[in-house]
């Protein structure tokens, strides 16, 4: 409850009389002075409980890993507090009001679920609170006219094109079966993938959506895909369901079909849950965990040592956002100028090089092609063959 006390020196009555817009301005005006004296204070908003709690755990680990790198790099100190949005839009709206109201934070890193980001953004926008978003892939996040947000993840339209092009051009598979999580992430990918497949001259012979975090039975979907004569499985979902799907396919005697998926599969649990069926499947990752750079190597080894796990996309993006904010603040940015400064900068992080367009989306990112070899992830060094994608741009 201590967080609720006003620290910005304007009275309650005053805030009311000023109206909310000017109250927000007052908050922001008061902040730069604090920021230079005090450490950089980050509010990390993520689902720590509820259905997507594993993503929250990764965000938390990514933040902790980033803190070590930041400490090693020197510069202004960073503190962060975790706010649990439970993956529910209602909780996200409460969290957003709590964060903005307390006046204790310079910026927000989060939320993870797109629905939470969309529910919380109007509140952050009112306060002009900088929001650095990692993994919300819904296109509306940057298309709704909010100027206080940047995000790391690659938009689903671009991603879906790349995955399809890889299956069709690199692997030569013309009959695709799409498995998608029926949430904004999987559904968005699926819609764009159907368009991309058409442009590439491939055929979607079967598709199936499932309720994420609930459906674990893919046996009938496997039969459906097999019956349709699929040559490639396109997995648009998280590692849990992707791995389970492959495992259940194997036990039904469906093996050796080319599999392509996004980096939400890039978890050790994917291999474990697939019971050997993940061998040889391809993952197109928005970041390369095996990239030949010191930052990446330091981060990977530190993360593996601390948690005995592969950092997921959420962890990498959260970590990079922490480091990005720290670098820019050390270089003299203020919370008010942070978003503009990010859009003007080119950032070299764990997940590679990022730069952003005016809306706050990353641009010109390339995918790293990763495969599973002998029960472990390995980089292939391959690049996506983009033949035929021009028609879509």
């Amino acid at each position: 409850m201590a967080m609720m006390t006003q620290k910005n020196g304007f009275t309650r009555r005053g805030a009311l009389r000023l109206g909310m817009g000017s109250a927000a301005a007052a908050t922001l005006a008061a902040r730069p002075m604090l920021a230079q004296a005090a450490p950089l204070r980050i509010a990390l908003a993520a689902p720590m409980t509820g259905d997507s709690a594993s993503m929250g755990l990764n965000a938390q680990r990514g933040a902790a890993a980033a803190m070590k790198l930041i400490e090693a790099a020197g510069g202004p100190a960073v503190t962060f507090d975790i706010f649990d949005d439970m993956g529910q839009p209602r909780e996200a709206a409460s969290v957003a009001r709590r964060i903005t109201d307390s006046g204790d934070y310079d910026l927000v890193v989060g939320h993870v679920n797109s629905s939470c980001t969309l529910a919380a953004m109007p509140i952050y926008a009112d306060y002009e609170m900088p929001v650095l978003c990692g993994s919300s892939s819904n296109s509306q996040v940057t298309e709704s006219g909010w100027e206080n947000i940047v995000r790391m993840t690659i938009r689903d339209d671009y991603g879906a094109q790349q995955y399809s092009a890889f299956a069709v051009n690199n692997l030569g598979k013309k009959k695709m079966a799409i498995l998608f999580a029926n949430d904004d992430y999987g559904r968005g990918l699926r819609d764009k993938m159907v368009i991309a497949a058409d442009a590439l001259g491939a055929e979607v012979v079967a598709e199936a959506g499932f309720t994420p975090n609930l459906d674990k039975d893919f046996s009938s979907i496997v039969s459906q895909f097999k019956n349709a004569g699929a040559e490639a499985f396109m997995l648009n979902c998280n590692y849990t369901e992707g791995g389970l799907f492959l495992g259940q396919a194997k036990s039904a005697g469906v093996e050796g079909i080319a599999t392509v998926g996004p980096d939400s599969l890039l978890y050790n649990e994917y291999i474990e849950l697939a019971q050997g069926a993940a061998e040889g499947s391809y993952i197109l990752a928005a970041y390369d965990p095996y990239a030949d750079s010191d930052t990446t190597r330091a981060f990977m080894s530190g993360f593996r040592e601390a948690y005995d796990a592969l950092p997921s996309q959420v962890a990498v993006f959260t970590s990079d956002l922490f480091i990005l904010a720290h670098q820019l603040m050390a270089a003299g940015s203020t919370p008010a100028s942070l978003i503009g400064d990010i859009k003007a900068t080119e950032f070299q992080g764990v997940g590679g090089t990022y730069h952003w367009d005016a809306k706050g989306d990353v641009k010109d990112r390339t995918f790293a092609v990763i495969t599973v070899k002998d029960g472990k992830f390995a980089s292939t060094g391959a690049a996506v063959d983009e033949t035929g994608l021009d028609a879509l741009r």
Binding site: R12, A15, I82, R90, A93, R97, G209
Partner: protein
Amino acid sequence: MAMTETFRMPVTVKFGPWIFLILMACLPLVLPGRFWLHIFSLTMIYAIFVLGQNVVTGWAGMLTLGQAAFVGMGAYSSVLLTMQAGVPWPLAFLASGAICAASGAALALPCLRVKADFLSLVTIAFNQIFFMVANNWMELTRGPMGIPGVPSMQILGWKARSSADQFWLILGVAAILFLLVARLMHGQLGRTMKMIRDDEVAAGALGVNVTGYKVLAFAIGCGVCGLGGSLYGHYMRFVSPDMFKLEESLLIMQMAILGGLASMPGCALGAFLMIMIPEALRSSEPWLITIRPGVAGATLVALMIWRPNGLLGFGQMPRSIRRLLRLEKEARP
């Protein structure tokens, strides 16, 4: 709100709700910042949902577990009407109530001849089906992407922009709904419903149209939820299917039971506690975050054991308070 059934209301009961309303209206003037205002706005919106649940479960004695579907239906109807069809919010608000009342009645009609628990299963099924439709009917609802950028409540050119405006508007709507439902439930309609709840066979023997009253209770309850849903959608300024899942229905039910079935102030108290307890437990310590829903659950169990009929359920208030409120002479229902 009145909690007695006598025709001559005690002074405390008569004026209590009005004093409470005035105190609530003063909240935006004394509360620091917008967070607490948000919590109270949310509480009032949920109190409306609980009121809807209570009409069906508390007064009419039917166990439904799918109120979130009606909340969602109200929210989606209102949001789509204002955003796609350009209907002014007050009209969309009323329309969403009407849509939910009609679909509630339509759902109840075939189910009532079957055993009581069947209704709960049907309402759970309805909740799942609503979620499925909202999630898959891309053209209408944008599916799992949800609808962002919902306009705030607006009445004849006056737009609820600030948190305080929204708070007052929600308070006004909630007060009107509570007074209306209180009128109905403390009048002939509510007494008949209670009679059906307590002894269906006897009520039928006395010539009461049991099915008709049950359907009516369903229509009122679902309509109230639909109206609340409209407020919810425009207050959150975002709707998505995962806001109206089965867990949400269970939460509304928990609030109703915790406050006390068939109790007007119980609706508000139940909603307030079930929103406040998790909020008060919020912390930044990872393991505390993890156990937060569990602590909320444990509190619920403890409160249920302490007051099995709900905090403000009848016969649950300590004698001293009842005497203070001059309810002592009341017979237990």
